[in-house]
Amino acid sequence: MVNYTFKGGIHINSPHLAEKLVVKQVPPPEQAVLLLQQKVGGEATPCVQIGDKVLTGQVIAKTLGRYSANIHASISGVVSAIEKRLIPHPSGINGICIVIDSDGKDKWIEIGKYDQDFKNYTPDEVIQKIHEAGVIGMGGAGFPTYTKISNVQDVNTLIVNATECEPGIMCDDSLMQEYSSDIIRGTEVLMYACGSYNSIIAIEDDKQEAYQSLLMSNHNDNISIVQIPVKYTSGAEKILIKILLGIEIPSGEFASDHGVLCQNVATVKAIYDAVIYNKPLVSRIVTVTGSAVKEPRNYEVRLGTSFASVVMQSKPNSNPHNIRIGGMMMGVDVPSVQYPICKITNCIFVNNIKPKSSVQSCIRCGQCNKVCPVGLLPQQLFWYAKSENIDRAMDYNLKDCFECRCCDVVCPSHIPLVKYFSFAKALHSKQTIERQKTDMARERFEFKEYRIERNKTERTDMMAKKKEELKNKMAEDKAQKDKILQAIVRVERSKKG
């Protein structure tokens, strides 16, 4: 059992569980649309051209720098387009995608020689393999795994995050039930790669089957499998570290600063595939659930398959839907199902559109600050965000809010608090930039003033000097003249005399 807990958080009953945890395999799609940019970092550079034939698992775009990831063909066929397409983002943004039309064969590329004993590689080689396989954080963060591992020096604890604390998502649960030994092995690979002697796999205590399977597969004394009580936001990285290790990492610092490396359990499985079998990341497990689908379920799908074709298999009803990707709490709403599944797509919620509950005034009842896992006062933040008094909101630690939406959910007045907070944060960064600009402009102005002033004084100094010189010269001249005059007078006198 765990020693620590965290303040706040909420218990939410998952309303629409993916009932059948057996993962349903979805056949490779007719067409795969592969996004070049992940959630963070830049775009990978395409290394194929339109018309090229590609095989499953072939690299089609290469990473540039540390913050992007390789992209591999998820089906075999022909590259039919490299163009901008709508990507799953709340504001309907475009991103460059490589489109592959299937040849129906799903022929894999020759996967090079691999060695099942990962200890025959050096840790650096292991990390390199992870990099080449295009593995990124699959819990939703989307951070390139290779970069995350190589960012930490001296890892003392590796944490495998198997909490899946967002209500409704069940993909990691079935992953653990089906691939428990791969996950244990993947954890060993990771420990080897990052040089950590200990690791903890953290799992919520309502996932008994998954827990048991992991226990059965684990024969390594350095890996402990820990059950933590079900409570939402326990899976947030810093909160989980608090629960497991009792360390509170303040905003501005990272787990890596404390020798902790956190990886999502699905990422660990991808690492296993990459290192042990040289298998690149071309598929993932996705949960489809929500009040509008008849058969909530987990699917293993190739990346680039359209949302629509997966959602159809769960038999959505014909009413208008609300589509949310990621979790029920921290996910984002997207306008439609016309998107490809990406590496970070863990869950698609298809909900019946609910009538909006009417927003009432904040009565400062304090329900919100009771559940805030970070210990903020959402009611005060709201008050200052609403009145656009951003400085005051910053005094109340606005930037520590990680938008978990606990406060939103409990507010009896139905205030969309987090919307106000993200607005206020955006306003703050805008103001900061503007402030910097005006600071710069002011400095420039002040320098100009200074320069003018300096020129002026220099000029007057110079004039004064010149005047002085002139005066001296005149005086000299006069003295000269006087001397001459005196001489003349003397001569005249002597002549007379």
């Binding site: 965290f6 958080g9 909420i10 218990h11 939410i12 810093k238 909160i239 608090k242 509170e248 990492i249 303040p250 905003s251 610092e253 509950s357 009417s358 009432q360 005034s361 904040c362 009565i363 400062r364 009842c365 304090g366 329900q367 600050n369 009771k370 559940v371 896992p373 970070v374 210990g375 903020l376 006062l377 009611q379 005060q380 005094d395 109340y396 630690n397 520590d400 959910v409 409990v410 009896p412 007045s413 139905h414």
Partner: protein
């Protein structure tokens, strides 16, 4: 923790339910007056609020349905003497809604507790009507007569008088000492117990947090205890402070009004404690029969400061 309340109106309703015991006890001892005052106050509150919302061009039904106006009316009606004339309640409630709430921008923006602002206004403007209390059971007809002034019922003078708190204070001022006085009132004790039980219900339902009531009571107990340590013959003992006047109403229903109270956990402790101290001080040294309204209003002023300096510890800091 799960979601406690679906709506603010649900919370307000809980508060209104919790008042029933105390109101029942008042009815049992003092008769029909309180029922009439409450009905009248609720009607006035809702009418005044609607008119104001209309002037401010805000949706009326939506705002009325949060129940806060009705609650303000009820709390004020309970606080004033149950045999006060009808215009007292009309003026008080109107003042509370207009100056205590709407002029600040409506629910949630008011720094002062509206009911207590109305009460304080009445106390200053109409001290006589505000300190004439029923001292026996007043039946329906009598209550109707006296509240609506239909015809002056001479019986009523026999039924009314000062409250026990006032009485004790006057007697002490005349040079009597505590051991010669009766500082106990059966009726008021039961009323206070009624509100105490209602308050415990609110605590159990988590409509209010424990900090304010606990700190408030501690403030009263500590201050009253210190005073009676100094001179037990000249100051009211602790138990009488607790069981006289509007103590329990104030502790559980008025000081806990979240809008005007401190909103941080630590802040609520300070807030409650300050009110507790002030109440005993005002009751003992002030010129008014009870100190609850003034104590709460005074501490309301300090809330922004308390909130700012009692922010909870932020994760990792």
């Amino acid at each position: 923790m799960i979601k406690m309340f679906d709506s603010t109106s649900q919370m307000m309703r809980q508060v209104i339910y919790a008042l029933i015991l105390g109101i029942g006890a008042t009815y049992f001892f003092l008769g029909w007056g309180i029922i009439m005052q409450i009905i009248l106050a609720m009607i006035v509150a809702i009418v005044v609020e609607s008119v104001f919302l209309k002037i401010r061009k805000l949706p009326i039904k939506h705002a009325i349905s949060d129940g806060s106006a009705a609650l303000t009316g009820i709390l004020l009606a309970i606080s004033i003497p149950s045999i006060a004339p009808w215009w007292i309640v009309v003026i008080g409630v109107s003042f509370a809604i207009i100056f205590g709430k709407q002029l600040y921008g409506g629910l949630g923006s008011n720094p002062f507790n509206p009911a207590m602002l109305g009460y304080a206004f009445l106390l200053i403007s109409y001290p006589l009507q505000m300190s004439t209390w029923a001292i026996e059971f007043v039946n329906f007809g009598q209550a109707f007569d006296v509240i609506f002034n239909i015809n002056h019922n001479p019986m009523i003078d026999a039924l009314s008088g000062a409250t026990r708190l006032d009485d004790v204070k006057n007697q002490l001022a005349l040079g009597k000492i505590m051991s010669e006085l009766n500082a106990y009132s059966v009726a008021q004790s039961w009323v206070n117990i009624g509100f105490l039980l209602g308050g415990l219900y609110l605590l159990a339902r988590r409509v209010i947090f424990w900090q304010i009531p606990t700190a408030f009571l501690s403030g009263i107990i500590l201050t009253a205890f210190l005073l009676s340590m100094v001179d037990s013959e000249n100051y009211l003992p602790v138990q009488n402070h607790l069981m006289l006047g509007g103590t329990m109403l104030g502790v559980f229903f008025i000081a806990t009004d979240p809008v005007s109270a401190s909103t941080t956990p630590k802040g609520r402790l300070i807030y409650g404690f300050l009110i507790g101290i002030l109440i005993v001080v005002i009751r003992t040294f002030g010129g008014y029969p009870d100190g609850i309204a003034f104590a709460i209003l005074l501490v309301n002023i300090t809330v922004p400061l308390i909130d700012y300096y009692t922010q909870p510890k932020v994760f990792g800091k």
